[in-house]
């Protein structure tokens, strides 16, 4: 059984300089209260690994505006002009990764695979500096696994074992990131007693989750 933390207590656990996997797609399925708490505590020098940088005022956009981030690994930052400016000015380092490759790199990190063999990016800028492997007569890029100090997830429902369910397009990167954070913190919209969630409805088993965030007041 896991107790539930207030967002501020969780933000205290995350030191400056930490690497964070953050769930969400254009801020849908992003743990907003955890992000607000990180901004409130004045976090600095974070590495954020996420599908995208959302937009100013939402999700990861709030971390960018607060200058809490020094490095972003994402597939898309097109709706965050602030981050684009900071990137061009050299103030935030950005690594762009094809979306399908990004989620597989995180999965590989989480499930103990040595990397991803993908055709995506072959013959493009993405292949620069990367190893290639031939399998069955076809060539694939070797993309390295990703893990991080923390995974910060949004979920629809949790129980106090830490089992998580997600809703509709708010799944996105969350179930995969749950495997790849050394410490996993989930912010569920609701928390129910143990035994209430049917085993077949669980998308992330509680054994992967270290801390839950209390429900919103």
């Amino acid at each position: 059984m896991k107790g539930a933390l207030r967002p501020a207590a969780a933000a205290e656990m995350i030191p400056d300089g930490a690497s964070l996997l953050i769930g969400g797609f254009m801020a849908v399925g992003t743990p907003e209260r955890l992000i607000d708490a990180l901004v409130a505590r004045g976090a600095k020098d974070l590495t954020v690994i996420a599908n995208d940088a959302a937009m100013p005022g939402r999700g990861i956009g709030k971390l960018v505006t607060a200058r809490a981030v020094s490095r972003v690994v994402a597939s898309h930052i097109g709706l965050n002009p602030e981050l684009q400016k900071l990137m061009i000015a050299g103030e935030i380092e950005v690594e762009l990764v094809p979306q399908g490759t990004l989620v597989e790199r995180i999965r590989a990190g989480g499930v103990g695979l040595g990397g991803v063999l993908t055709p995506t990016g072959l013959g493009t800028e993405v292949e620069q500096g990367k190893q290639k492997v031939e399998v069955g007569g076809r060539t694939f890029l070797v993309e390295e696994p990703i893990t991080a100090d923390f995974a910060l997830l949004a979920a629809y429902q949790a129980d106090y074992v830490g089992n998580l369910c997600y809703s509709l397009t708010a799944h996105n990167f969350n179930p995969t990131m749950a495997l790849a954070g050394r410490t996993v913190i989930a912010e569920p919209a609701s928390i129910v007693p143990v035994g209430v969630i049917p085993p077949d409805a669980v998308k992330t088993p509680g054994v992967l989750v270290d801390h839950l965030i209390v429900r919103a007041a």
């Binding site: 797609f25 254009m26 801020a27 849908v28 399925g29 599908n51 995208d52 937009m55 994402a74 597939s75 898309h76 930052i77 097109g78 709706l79 684009q84 990137m87 061009i88 762009l96 094809p98 979306q99 399908g100 490759t101 989620v103 597989e104 999965r107 993908t118 055709p119 995506t120 990016g121 072959l122 013959g123 493009t124 800028e125 993405v126 629809y156 997600y166 809703s167 509709l168 397009t169 708010a170 799944h171 996105n172 990167f173 969350n174 179930p175 995969t176 998308k203």
Partner: protein, 217 residues
């Protein structure tokens, strides 16, 4: 009819019953408006949910049900939630029957550039590299020119999205099929002559004896 509507209606004509189709943000997403419900087509956005439907009535939006641009959508009967790993598993694995994407440049090899203008616009490739690499059929829906310059060029000058030859280009002037021999002009828009198309196109076009007029859905 404006250029975008014409393009969307022509692309809609490519869609066959029961297909799984991914529509990019912007112009491509307009295609869904012209696909009859009785075709039983499933629309997918890369952020999750197979079976996206129209924007719900005001007040009935769900913050966890959006398209890849973050806009509110609904779910049709028989819809299925998927996470990003499954979403790109379907895309990379060839399970996606068709993707419709925007383009910045298409060249005589049928290769697409649509994710970066070095030094000017670096939004990131998002899902585009996986979509172009993995979808069974790739259709580029774009206006023929940008700021007076043809987007159909001898050789892409912008960074490529994939080495894969795309299957069809639909603009407000023409339908062009990239083939091993080069770009074949297949259809002209109503009221547009072959000479008009040649004049608007920087790339060489192969012009067969028979050029049909575009059919619009």
């Amino acid at each position: 009819m404006d250029a975008k509507e014409l393009i969307a209606r022509r692309v809609a004509h490519e869609i066959r019953p029961g297909m799984l189709v991914n529509l990019g943000i912007g112009l491509p997403s307009m295609v869904a408006n012209y696909v009859p419900a009785e075709l039983g087509v499933f629309f997918q956005a890369e952020n999750g949910v197979i079976g996206l439907g129209a924007r719900p009535p005001e007040g009935m939006e769900d913050e966890n049900l959006t398209d890849a641009g973050g806009g509110f959508v609904s779910a049709v009967p028989g819809a299925a939630s998927i996470d990003s790993a499954m979403s790109f598993g379907l895309i990379r694995g060839g399970h996606l029957d068709m993707t419709v994407l925007g383009g910045l440049e298409i060249d005589e090899a049928g290769q697409l550039a649509n994710w970066k203008v070095p030094g000017k616009m670096v939004p990131g490739m998002g899902g585009a590299m996986d979509l172009v690499t993995g979808a069974a059929r790739v259709i580029v829906a774009m206006q023929h020119a940008a700021r007076g310059a043809s987007k159909i060029v001898p050789r892409c000058t912008l960074p490529l999205t994939s080495l894969r030859r795309i299957d069809l280009v639909v603009t407000e002037l023409a339908v062009i099929e990239p083939t091993e021999e080069g770009l074949v002009l297949r259809e002209h828009a109503p009221g547009v002559s072959v000479e008009d198309i040649r004049a608007a196109t920087a790339a060489s076009l192969i012009v067969p004896a028979e050029i049909a007029e575009m059919q619009l859905a």
